[in-house]
């Protein structure tokens, strides 16, 4: 299903998201960005056609690493955004490889600079040349924690640099400058007791392993106190014993992780996925340090020289930043930070507050220590931070359970409305009336909630379609730009699955048959670049999706000619067809106007598949086309497949449910208002200044019709810009209807049913599809 390009685009988009959330102050994003770039690299590795991209992404690694270095942070972020944005434009076909190349070239000096920085901080061989010392820059997070290639003591035996290193790594030379600057006496306290150190090594390894297992569990259950205590204890112990042995670097690292976990444990910070990644990163760092100890067989001097190579400070600084950012701050603190209040005054006010009932903000305003609007802004900032802490967690539920839930809620809705009807007939006390209304409100709320659970934004498939458009255009050598609108429109999961194929067909069709090649377009005075608009929006109780191109349009004459050739219609019938009828011929099986069969379309299977798929979810498709200007396909879909607002009527012996959304009003037509045609077969009424046909639904449903001498009960429908007056025998009322599918065996005979429904008393009703209902009359 997923072709590499789609995956690539998804990955790039994820990266873009991480970058922008980092920019907005989500400092946890740094590790996320490094991770994603690492994933991209792994993905591109060894793919022949993507070699160029691979080396480019590899060049991004130093930039991602630089994000954690305070002095380079801003520049690196800007550069990364530039590169990633260009990459996305290039992959989605909006700019050519050439112009992307130019973009990169202008940034080259900067990229080189970061590479150099990266290289110098990378570890090198130790003086003895035995053993390569890994650092978090290349191991750990960049390979998604799973490969320990560069962090195991195995490196003692081999002298090859780890395979995960980016492609621009030069032959390793012992680089001695640019080392992290630990104070000279920093490692002096390390005890000279091999046995104790070895013991610590084993113990710390165990704790890290336990922490790792716990962290994996925490990914699914981030608020589990038990687990949080466990992992907190792990780092606490590592911190304690390393301090005792004088391993200051290990102590500081463990300490900073412990502090972070303390905030999480106290519920002041939610353990997000990014945060878990950050902790993993720290664990890799600790593992590296432990590995160094073992690799040097706990010999102080050589151990320390390697220790000096590994800079723990960027990581510790990152954690510090996070703690600062995510702590729930007091108003006073915020004001002080922003320089809106002098520290000395704040101290005084805090003193005053101790002896008063008032809130700090109030006192500040009273004392005129800060401007009221500043206090308000600080309050807002405070609540923003608080809200960020309350990030909603996500629970995964199986599809099956969700579908069952939707079904059951459907039943609940039916039963509730039946109950209401039953009880209304008895004369109830006011309290009972109130209870019934309340019950109705609750049921409706549950229904809406459950239905919204099954909704997903259409962006899911729109993104895939972007790729499809690009690939198709490339295949056919055309320049096409796909403009997407309304990506966040939400609709039913099941609907989304069904419309992907139709949309794919329509877009491929547009590019193949609609959009002309660049030369022809120029001759016709159009922009060389063809444009397709793909948009989704809510309309009424449904969704409208549009695929519109600015190509050559569909020639109705040619459609007719083809249809006659293929024996789809008879020549003598062509004159009677309206333009809409002609375009509808396109959706018949075996119809194709393409002169030659291209690899993309033209086999005449496209559009009938579109129609078939849409029929299965009660959707409709229409075509409007203008020669030379372009073609527009409009798809109309129901919001959900499960429940509709229906108007229940009785016709003859059965109950029939009409879609409530297309009913304008109920009208009782006295016999004298009815205009009958000559043969008494057809009728019409004049209502609100419009002549509209009267449809006796008995004829469609083949139900026995009672004498029409009396007045008629009718529903006025407004459907597809026309009005109809439909006669029924009895109006039962508006109800929420759960559509149950009826076997295809029946539906192929009754095109005017979209399904059935079961009422509270067990009786069955038929749900009418207006389109089919009107077509049945022809």
């Amino acid at each position: 299903m997923k072709d590499p390009t789609t995956v690539l685009i998804e990955k790039i988009q994820e990266l873009t998201t991480s970058l922008s959330s980092y920019e907005q102050g989500d400092l946890l994003g740094a590790a996320d960005i490094q991770d994603r770039i690492g994933q991209l690299c792994t993905f591109l590795e060894g793919k022949k056609s993507l070699e160029k991209l691979h080396s480019l992404v590899a060049h991004m690694r130093p930039l991602a690493w630089a994000l954690a270095q305070p002095s380079y942070e801003e520049e690196a972020l800007r550069l990364l955004q530039e590169l990633v944005e260009g990459l996305e434009l290039f992959i989605t076909g909006r700019i050519s490889g050439k112009s992307y190349g130019e973009r990169i070239r202008t940034q080259e000096p900067l990229i080189r600079k970061y590479e150099k920085l990266f290289r110098t901080t990378q570890s090198s061989r130790t003086e003895k040349g035995n053993g390569h010392v890994p650092t978090p820059g290349e191991g750990g997070i960049l390979n998604g924690f799973s490969e320990k290639a560069s962090t195991t003591p195995e490196i003692e035996k081999t002298n090859t640099p780890p395979s995960t290193a980016p492609s621009f790594r030069t032959e390793e030379k012992p680089v001695r400058h640019g080392e992290p600057s630990y104070p000279t006496n920093y490692f002096d306290a390390i005890i000279e007791d091999r046995k104790l150190l070895e013991q610590f090594h084993t113990e710390a390894q165990e704790h890290l392993e336990e922490a790792q297992a716990t962290l994996v569990e925490l990914e699914y259950d981030g608020t589990n106190k038990e687990l949080l205590h466990t992992i907190f204890r792990n780092f606490h112990t590592i911190k304690g014993s390393s301090a005792f042995l004088g391993l200051k670097n290990i102590e500081e690292t463990a300490h900073s992780i412990e502090d972070l976990l303390a905030i999480v444990r106290d519920g002041k910070l939610i353990l997000t996925k990014e945060l878990i990644d950050i902790i993993f990163f720290g664990m890799e760092l600790l593992k590296n340090l432990l590995d160094i100890m073992a690799a040097h067989e706990y010999q102080n001097r050589s151990m320390v020289s390697s220790f000096r190579m590994v800079n723990i400070y960027p990581y510790i600084r990152l954690l510090k930043k996070i703690k600062e950012e995510y702590r729930y701050k007091k108003i006073g603190e915020i004001l002080e930070e922003e320089g809106k209040i002098a520290p000395a005054i704040l101290k005084e006010i805090l003193k005053k507050q101790e002896s008063s009932e008032k809130k700090l903000g109030e006192i500040i305003i009273e004392e005129q220590a800060a401007r009221p609007e500043d206090v308000v802004a600080a309050l807002k900032k405070q609540s923003d931070i608080a809200n960020r802490l309350k990030r909603s967690a996500i629970v995964k539920v199986s599809n099956e359970k969700l579908n069952t839930l939707i079904d059951i809620v459907g039943e609940l809705v039916i039963n509730q409305s039946m109950l209401k009807q039953e009880l209304r007939q008895l004369h109830l006390t006011e309290t009972a009336e109130r209870s019934i209304s309340q019950l109705e409100t609750i049921t409706t709320t549950i229904k809406n909630l459950v239905l919204s659970m099954g909704m997903v934004p259409i962006a899911e498939i729109f993104n895939k379609l972007r790729v499809v458009a690009r690939n198709t255009a490339e295949e056919l050598g055309k320049n096409v730009y796909l403009e997407v609108r309304g990506e966040d429109t939400e609709l039913d999961r099941n609907v989304i699955e069904t419309i992907y194929d139709p949309l794919l067909h329509l877009i491929r069709n547009s590019i193949d048959h609609g959009i002309e090649d660049g030369k022809t377009r120029e001759e016709r005075g159009k922009n060389r670049l063809g444009k397709i608009i793909l948009s989704a929006e809510h309309k009424g109780s449904g969704i409208e999706i549009i695929v519109q191109d600015d190509g050559q349009g569909i020639d109705p004459e040619r459609v007719l000619q083809k249809a006659v050739e293929k024996g789809i219609i008879k020549k003598e019938d062509t004159a009677t067809l309206s333009e809409r009828d002609i375009y509808n011929l396109l959706f018949l099986p075996g119809f194709s106007t393409a002169d030659q069969v291209t690899s993309v379309s033209g086999r005449g299977v496209g559009l009938d598949v579109v129609k078939k798929n849409l029929d299965s979810i009660h959707g409709r498709v229409e075509v409007h086309s203008e020669m030379g200007k372009g073609t527009c396909f409009t798809i109309k879909l129901p919001l959900t497949l499960a429940i509709i607002e229906g108007f229940v009527t009785r016709v003859g012996d059965n109950k029939y449910v009409f879609p409530f959304s297309s009913i304008e009003e109920i009208k009782v037509v006295p016999p004298e208002e009815l205009y009958l045609s000559e043969n008494k077969e057809e009728a019409m009424i004049f209502h609100r200044g419009i002549h509209m046909p009267v449809i006796f639904s008995h004829r469609v449903f083949r139900e026995p019709q009672k004498n029409s001498k009396e007045q008629l009960l009718t529903l006025i429908f407004n459907f597809d810009h026309s009005h109809y007056c439909v006669v029924v025998d009895e109006l039962i009322g508006k109800q929420e209807i759960v559509i149950k599918s009826i076997s295809q065996n029946i539906l192929k005979d009754c095109r005017f049913f979209s399904g059935g429904t079961i009422f509270g008393d067990g009786s069955i009703g038929f749900v009418v599809d207006m389109q089919g209902f009107l077509e049945a009359l022809k």
Binding site: K740, S741, I742, S743, Q744, S763
Partner: protein
């Protein structure tokens, strides 16, 4: 080696015995009121509500072009699973009476003779002799996925086992 033995549900229509593989049968229910459908093929009587599902009911007498019989509380509906072109669907078939479930060894089921038989061979999986009585094993998928009335041929040659 003895061949395999399968279970079949036997029922009667107009004194003839028919069998269908038990695996196709979901359940057998007593007559429940039918919501009639007027717009469909003659033999599709309508739909019933089977525990919240809408199941179409086909009258086998009409399907085989036999005279219609009013439903009584003796009438039973066999709910069967058929493989349509696009879906597996459940359909009720109305038959005169359900008899029993029997084991029929596969080597007792003979291929349908080509000519002079009740149905076109595509509607039959085979014929078996059971206790000197003939059982026609129906191919339900083939019968129920057509819209036509399955014509029974009148020149039925009695086959003595």
């Amino acid at each position: 080696m003895a061949g395999t033995t399968n279970k079949y549900l036997l029922f009667t229509i107009e004194k003839e015995r028919y069998g269908i593989p038990i695996g196709k049968v979901q359940e057998v229910i007593r007559y429940t009121p039918i919501t009639p459908l007027h717009e469909t093929s003659q033999f599709l009587k309508g739909v019933i509500n089977l525990r919240g599902r809408i199941i179409p009911v086909i009258d086998m007498r009409l399907k085989f072009n036999l005279p219609e019989k009013a439903y009584t509380d003796r009438t039973v509906f066999i709910i069967v699973e058929i493989l349509g072109t696009r879906e597996v669907s459940h359909i009720g078939i109305a038959v005169d009476a359900v008899q029993e479930v029997v084991d029929i060894p596969e080597d007792l089921i003979n291929r349908t003779p080509e000519i002079g038989f009740k149905f076109k061979s595509k509607y039959l999986q085979g014929i078996a002799q059971l206790n000197d009585r003939m059982v026609m094993i129906l191919n339900l998928d083939a019968i129920l996925s057509t819209d036509e009335v399955v014509e029974l041929q009148q020149n039925l040659t009695e086959k003595a086992g």
